[in-house]
Symmetry: C2
Subunit: 343 residues, 2 copies
């Protein structure tokens, strides 16, 4: 299996997802600013993978700090974590991972060199825990997927979006690992085409039956009875169960409801933001117009055309059939049941 | 204003829409087989424009027939019209136009040379009538569009999809011509990107405010209250009011209903197929997988990935707020009210 992002000999090694599926290229970063830049430019993407990359970026930044004492180190580390936090606004896992790194810094009593080692260990922990958490989600979620069924997914919430195994595709893998026969329909997911480039790629590598469709075919496939359930990931989940995820997720949720098809969200607890009451308050990243007007360097729209490019949308909790977490499957009322995950 | 397709000095001149918006190139065809090929390859597209092109292809074919008498001419003309009819299966205007040409052939009493002239005149009539019909639809439909409102459209049902003025965009132009301030949101319309390439291009040329979005953003824009109504064209309308149109139209209609936004279809009577009871019987063209996996010659998905590529879908009449025709605005019950258009 491929690695999405990895700590290796005091550097961060990352699969460059912008080049997939054409080329499999790994980038090695020894400066945390390169990691921040890689997150911004989508070399690594997917909420859990962004969290892991940010933690490793923090560890890399920590390694480079020349400080006489803990106080000076903490001041310098604030700058590192501020840069990592400025990369992308929507996925909460980014801030969750940076906060974990900061807690390690704040609670440390020993020397600076010891703290650096501790931060590297913490980043590696975040990485390793993510895979474990995904496998647990896969086991819980896999039970929701019926044998001989077809799952529609949007964007890539797979091994590539995590440290490994995946969230939404982890649920598919969980069902397959349980011996079920599962087919996947993958929305191509414009503008960045994570479905066409990444989901199709990783499912084909795993030998899981995958059919690629354009985003606007999802409704037609549901109407024809070809979709049994929808499983997507999440970038942030509010306390009331509203789900921010890749642009287009909301449309899929409305279509699923209209066709009485279950709509499942697979996300670790680190994607839940209990400080945010509802999806209305989740910041939505607006990305460059070029992502809409160019594909693979080819201009597809008139020069100077106006565009919108929100990278995410919010699906209200009422359209979500269940949220699959490492703590179990959560159903409505979400406000109460999400809280129970955090005793 | 540009011409989409035109009869000129015994040849058919066509704007090559596959090269838009990058290049404005006109192709001149003097063999009807070239016209058939151009329809297949989407140099001309849009139900009314396909009808006009097919009629002109028939006229071109007629011109080339060397026949001693009417009987021989009719046999040869059957071959010409059969080839034109084999180009694309969904848009009924194609068959409607070919049928009109055949009626002229069948009802002719004079000599072969006179019939050739008559067929050229008939093709030109179909062209000229289409523009008149679109302007009438624009006047009727324009009244449904409120001042200072935003119209979402899918695919291109504009001047480029017709002999001129457009059906859905004719309605927008009708509102603008009536002095209203109208903004358009254009779905890019994967896989062939008629929205990004064609709708944006022709609206920008007309100075009509246009914002390009990817197909999966439509729901988000509706949820944010940015869309006041939807206007689309049609490729075939069944006797019960079910509407076949570009893939993705059905999803937009479901989303519009979920957001209580009016969903209008603008189509000439020639798009109505009273011989077909419901949308279930409308043949849906399945096009090449390459349209999904390549954009502008660039591969965007893994080699060998499975895809689906239905070019159209069917929106059930219950999701259609009104059908705008040259005979007036038709509302439910469609079965009865469509019949009234054909006394």
């Amino acid at each position: 299996m491929f690695k999405t992002v990895e700590w290796k000999n005091n550097s961060v090694v990352m699969l460059d997802q912008t080049l997939l599926p054409g080329k499999v290229v790994y980038r090695k970063f020894s400066d945390y600013r390169q990691v921040a830049d890689a997150i911004k430019k989508l070399l690594v993407r997917g909420a859990p993978a962004i969290g892991v990359a940010a933690a490793m970026g923090c560890a890399l930044g920590a390694l480079g700090i020349k400080a006489a004492g803990l106080g000076e180190f903490r001041r310098e580390f604030k700058k590192v974590s501020a840069l990592m936090a400025s990369t992308r606004p929507t996925a909460i896992n980014l801030f969750w991972a940076i906060e974990r790194m900061n807690r390690a810094v704040d609670s440390h009593c020993g020397g600076v060199e010891g703290l650096k080692k501790r931060l590297i260990a913490e980043a590696k922990n975040i990485h390793d825990e993510d895979i474990k958490v995904n496998r647990r989600m896969g086991a819980y979620g896999g039970r929701l997927i019926k044998n001989n069924s077809t799952v529609l997914t949007h964007c890539n919430a797979g091994a590539l979006a995590t440290a490994g195994y995946g969230t939404a595709l982890g649920v598919v893998r969980g069902a397959v690992d349980a011996g079920k026969n599962v087919r996947v329909f993958a929305d191509e997911t414009r503008p960045v085409l994570q479905g066409a480039r990444l989901t199709a790629w990783e499912l084909m590598r795993d030998g899981i039956d995958c059919t690629l469709i354009t985003d606007n075919m999802a409704g037609y496939m549901m109407k024809k009875g070809l979709i049994d359930c929808v499983v997507v990931g999440a970038d942030r989940i509010a306390a009331n169960g509203d789900v921010a995820n890749k642009i287009g997720t909301y449309s899929v949720a409305v279509l699923a409801r209209a066709h009485k098809i279950p709509f499942y969200v697979a996300a670790p607890k680190s994607t839940m933001d209990l400080r945010i009451k509802s999806g209305d308050s989740i910041p939505i990243e607006e990305r460059s117009a070029d992502e809409v007007t160019f594909i693979g360097g080819v201009r597809i729209a008139p020069d100077g055309v106006k565009t919108k490019n929100p990278a995410f949308d919010v699906t209200p909790a009422r359209l979500v059939s269940a949220i699959i977490t490492e703590g179990g499957v959560v159903r409505a009322p979400y406000g109460r049941n999400i809280k129970k995950l955090f005793p």
